[in-house]
Symmetry: C2
């Protein structure tokens, strides 16, 4: 049997420790190909590059792993990898490991998740993986175990057509880690407070800052699982239709 | 009673004809405030600006309408508008009118929709509006009628907590337009074919091009409605949890 092809990307850029940890975590499971942004792309959401040309250069970053860096967004990387490098669908796409949480509402802003989502649109089983530790020296030991476990399941089983997972891992050691938990997305938001400053020419500018607010007090959320020491695993849709709201409109609004 | 506050933004930039048409369409319904990108932001998805400072400058673009241009993304515009200009939630947020379609899977890539989505995260009733005509000289007559009709409904009624609409309008005249239809998102994708070129220094680069593929043959989709001459109205969720997939995982995977 042919070894499965595993496409790896991220949004922190190809030189971040998180993507190195991801390559290490799954290199025993198949042929790993890396196509990742040449610079950090955090907060890029599902941006794609249509008004500028894209660069794609072969690089030597991971020992024995074919790797390319791309001037575009995480979603661009997945599109280019498929069309110009793999010339076929990969068997699995993993994005990360992100330095910092992508639970709850962050799925919308996350470049990590957008790469995984792009693969899912192509019906490639995929996941975005994030560790709740922003630091360069973050410990990816537990995260690597979680990724390996999920990758084995995704490569082995007969899966539904769209399997797209948002995986977040708490800061934990082998002693404190509680395992994985299937969750739903917590109803949460960021309360922005822009930091107003004045440049040397007297002109105003703003830095985005924000406070995370979890408005979801019901059980079963990713935020709750992470607080309790579990890795949260949330399956994500790419059909955004709000069926309940659709029923409400069909009842209340006559066009 | 106080006049409702209507926040308007877009992703084509504050100088595009589409946003002018949108201001015209709803200025009789409340106090209109425009906060829009200072340059085109198409394909920005739900990108936010966290690594760079943001500029926000008052401009004189629309007669008698308070307007600001912002150096950031459509989502940034909504966040800044709320925090630095309105100092409160608007009663309605409308993004557009986009020059070009944002039906089906395009909701994920669309800067137009991301602005509306950002407002919905804040529980502000919102919609993204797109006309299926890329041209500068596109005729927004029908689109303006659709926006006005929906805005009246959204400002009048007792609405569910999250109302977020993806509205697309076909190229039509008063004679050929069939009206509005409540739809679901069509299952579709873009088949990318990158146009490979070589720069004057002999280095490769790529332009993203693509062909839209509608894989959805069942009735009730936005693509189908638009083809038949209707404006499509799709209610959109911001909880991306895939409940069916969650049930599958809970049944098939033991953690």
């Amino acid at each position: 049997m042919q070894r499965p092809v595993i496409l790896i990307t991220n949004d922190d850029g190809i030189t971040s420790p998180g993507i190195k940890a991801l390559v290490d975590a799954v290199s025993d499971l198949g042929e790993v190909i890396v196509v990742a942004p040449d610079s950090p792309q955090s907060g890029m959401g599902h941006a794609i590059t249509i008004g500028d040309p894209l660069r794609l250069d072969k690089v030597d970053v991971f020992d024995g792993v074919a790797s390319w860096q791309c001037s575009g967004t995480p979603a661009d990387c997945v599109k280019l990898a498929r069309d110009k490098i793999l010339h076929r669908k990969p068997d699995l796409c993993i994005s990360g490991i992100n330095h910092g949480a992508n639970h709850s509402i962050n799925v919308i802003y996350s470049g990590t998740m957008s790469a995984a989502m792009e693969a899912a649109i192509e019906s490639v089983p995929s996941m975005g993986v994030s560790l709740l530790d922003h630091r360069f020296e973050a410990d990816f030991t537990i995260a690597k175990q979680v990724v390996h476990d999920l990758a084995v399941r995704m490569l082995a089983g007969k899966l539904p057509e769209h399997i797209l997972l948002n995986v977040n891992i708490p800061i934990a050691t082998a002693a404190t880690f509680k395992g994985m938990k299937i969750c739903r997305q917590a109803h949460a938001k960021w309360a922005e407070e822009f930091d107003h400053r004045t440049d040397p020419r007297g002109k105003d500018y703003y830095w985005m800052t924000g406070k995370f607010i979890n408005m979801d007090k019901d059980p079963g959320t990713d935020v709750e699982a992470l607080k309790a020491g579990y890795a949260s695993v949330v399956p994500i849709r790419i059909d955004f239709t709000d069926t309940k709201m659709k029923e409400w409109m069909e009842r209340e609004w006559q066009f």
